[in-house]
């Protein structure tokens, strides 16, 4: 055991769907049920429809038969789609909820960061909240005393330490909350999407803290949607899908597996089968693809041109058709809104099935996940609109030739620096990598 931090065996968690939606029942319902259901079952028995067990309401396995082992000092990521069971797993390991089956053993002091600022009370001052929040996270009073100054300094709120936090700006609040959490140093840290909140500087602080924790040999188990973060921080990653553990491998392979899986799934569920769309349906998209025309392995890299190709079926002649798309980042900010009407005028008349593609030269997208919304309209009539028709991942590339990838902001710039009027370039800077260009051909020919 000396080497193992977390051992999980056959862990499963079942939720009652009904119970999840209406989170509490009334006493009356329960009493009525308790009173009525024996009769109902007796009735069924008489009619010969007896089932062995009591009426089973609908249940879902949020986690099913998950087993793994984490060694001391490992930093492990958990990836998977929304509802795959990642958070349930962390909740069980942090003992917030109990598993239905299986067991887990944890060796060492556990801390969980499921949300920063948990237990903060707006009426209490910064000082009081540090103690309260620290105690809630599991810190001893002496430990908080010892780290108090450090926490205040880290949060940069010295002047307001005795002000009730309800008067804090949201930034100050967040900084203080994170400062407390960051100075909580358990042997095993469970982190759930904490990095998803706050601005870029804050996220960087979070990342830095995680890095320093891992360099201290702490064991970290983290959930994140941010795949590059997982790749950067974790040596190993676990992929969860529909409550099951489907991959447990190096973070690099896990991310690749996950992305491949998503792409395969997206290809498997045809766009035309999706019902999360609006529009009259005179034109219906049935396929959409985002491609990097300069990349050879099918991945999309920052710095390259991208093409979005949309295939559609036409059910009647549409004069003055307007095609468009949005590219949104993971925060839901629209990076581009591009329509044929705005960029080429209303000249399209569609009367056949077809395929339209849009190439964006140098979109300057930062590494990250993007969503594509596509739509078609005609003179105010919404023909078809799919909100998240597809997602794509932009991978980092050394676009400046300095080894540094642009990170903050919405898009990146291509700057030209001059010092005293004289252009300066990094010594040994390479020109942008030019890869073999590949024509993006329409998949519908």
């Amino acid at each position: 055991m000396s080497n193992i931090a977390i051992q999980v065996e056959g862990l499963s968690k079942r939720y009652h769907i009904g119970g999840k939606q209406e989170s509490y029942k009334t006493l009356r319902d329960t009493l009525t049920n308790a009173f009525v259901s024996p009769f109902r079952r007796a009735g069924k028995l008489l009619r010969g429809q007896a089932t062995g067990a009591a009426e089973s309401d609908e249940t879902i396995w949020a986690l099913k038969d998950v087993s793994f082992e984490i060694k001391r000092g490992e930093v492990v990521g958990i990836i998977g789609r929304n509802g795959a069971g990642k958070s349930t797993l962390l909740k069980i390991l942090s003992r917030i909820t109990e598993p239905t089956n299986g067991f887990a053993e944890i060796y060492g002091r556990v801390g969980s960061l499921l949300e920063v600022g948990t237990g903060f009370h707006p009426e209490l001052t910064g000082r009081e909240n540090i103690y309260l929040n620290g105690a809630i996270l599991g810190m001893k009073r002496a430990e908080i005393d010892r780290k108090f100054d450090e926490i205040v300094e880290f949060a940069e709120i010295e002047k307001f330490i005795d002000t009730p936090v309800k008067h804090y700006s949201s930034g100050m609040y967040l900084r203080l909350a994170f400062a407390v959490a960051a100075h909580f140093e358990p042997e095993i840290l469970l982190v759930d999407e904490v990095l998803a909140v706050g601005d870029a500087a804050f996220q960087k602080k979070c990342l830095g803290k995680m890095e320093s924790l891992s360099s201290l040999g702490r064991t970290i188990l983290m959930v994140s949607h941010n795949l590059p973060t997982i790749q950067a921080l974790c040596s190993r990653a676990i992929v969860v899908h529909q409550g099951r553990l489907v991959r447990d491998t190096s973070s690099h392979d896990a991310v690749r597996y996950y992305l491949d899986d998503i792409r395969a799934k997206a290809a498997n569920i045809p766009l035309d089968k999706r019902d999360d769309r609006k529009g009259t349906g005179a034109i219906k998209f049935h396929h959409v693809e985002v491609a990097d025309s300069q990349s050879e392995n099918g991945a999309i890299y920052t710095g390259n041109d991208i093409s979005i190709t949309m295939a559609f079926k036409t059910y009647r002649r549409v004069p003055n058709c307007n095609f468009g798309l949005h590219i949104q980042n993971s925060l839901g900010q629209i990076i581009y809104r591009i329509t044929t009407r705005d960029t080429i005028g209303s000249i399209l008349s569609i009367d056949h099935d077809g395929c339209i593609s849009c190439k964006i030269a140098q979109p300057r997208l930062l590494p990250g996940t993007y969503e594509v919304k596509i739509f078609a309209s005609s003179m105010g009539e919404n023909l078809d609109e799919v909100f998240v028709a597809t997602r794509f991942e932009v991978l980092p590339a050394d676009i400046y030739g300095t080894g540094n990838t642009p990170q903050n902001g919405i898009v990146y710039a291509i700057p030209e620096w001059r010092l005293n009027g004289k252009e300066i370039r990094q010594s040994g800077a390479k020109p942008l990598p030019v890869k073999r260009s590949r024509d993006v051909r329409c998949m519908c020919g």
């Binding site: 006493l27 909820t97 060796y107 948990t118 237990g119």
Partner: protein
């Protein structure tokens, strides 16, 4: 070593597995979390006094006004007997522990639902939440008690040597309040109806307890049986200890203490049994 200690905890091990049926109370773990209990109590007290204009005055106004009303209607108009003691102090001596009990009960019963955010995000023994809420009522009790001392001086009621039992009588009120709160708070997570029954419950209980009248109205086997309501032991005990009512409530207090302990232990086990569903349901 437990997982809470900072020292190298090679020996510390947490086992997570589904629990079935009745589970242990894990009082040792609760003890490990005593600092959290302290901070939660302290938060409840701070917040209560920060958010109100009158602050600590509320702790006095509530029992004091009730005493005034009782004195007017029961004492003056209905001429309810008061064991030979001036009616105002007779009823106030019982109202002070009663208010502690009733406020603790109503606040603690809602405490789990009010702390839903904590319960869904962090692990700690959930018993700490209602426990801290009832604890925080001790401060209110202290304020109301000071007024009681003032009234005793005013009416010239000297306490007897029985006053040494007072802390234990307060403990009895505490145990009763906590016992009922454990049942109600755990039920309240599942059935929000509970919240609406609490005002009725405390009102009903108020009149089922000898606050406006003395228990000496009952003749003997019944008077002791009356102690099955633990608050009977508390209120009669307070009068006996402070005002020297000559009816030594010995048997009543024994019955009340047994009943209060039963409530506490059963409440704690019920609470622990329901605890695993809290985070999923609340």
């Amino acid at each position: 070593m437990t997982y809470l200690t900072l020292s190298s905890s090679d020996q510390s091990k947490i086992v997570i597995k589904p629990s079935r049926g009745w589970v242990s109370l894990k009082l040792r773990e609760l003890w490990e979390y005593r600092e959290l209990l302290y901070f939660l109590t302290w938060r409840d007290i701070k917040v209560r006094y920060k958010q109100t204009v009158l602050g600590a005055a509320w702790a006095i106004i509530q029992p004091f006004l009730t005493m005034v009303i009782f004195s007017l209607f029961f004492g003056k108009l209905a001429k309810v007997p008061s064991d030979g003691i001036p009616y105002p102090i007779f009823s106030y001596a019982a109202l002070v522990p009663w208010t502690f009990f009733a406020n603790g009960l109503s606040q603690a019963s809602n405490s789990l639902v009010a702390s839903a955010n904590l319960i869904k995000k962090v692990y700690f023994p959930r018993l700490a939440i209602p426990l801290a809420t009832v604890f925080s009522g001790v401060v209110d009790f202290a304020f109301a008690f000071m007024v009681l001392i003032g009234m005793m001086l005013y009416f010239g009621a000297a306490p007897t040597s029985n006053v040494v039992w007072l802390p234990l009588l307060l403990l009895l009120a505490f145990v009763t309040s906590l016992g009922v709160s454990l049942w109600l708070s755990a039920m309240n997570v599942q059935f929000r109806d509970v919240r609406y029954t609490i005002p009725f419950l405390t009102q009903f209980w108020l009149f089922a307890t000898p606050i406006a009248y003395p228990s000496s109205l009952l003749s003997e086997p019944w008077r002791t049986l009356y102690g099955l309501n633990p608050m009977v032991g508390v209120t009669e005990g307070f009068r006996w200890a402070l005002l020297g009512t000559d009816t030594a409530p010995g048997p009543i207090i024994i019955v009340s203490s047994v009943m209060a302990l039963l409530l506490l232990v059963s409440g704690a086990f019920y609470f622990r049994r329901m605890e695993k569903t809290f985070a999923d349901v609340v």
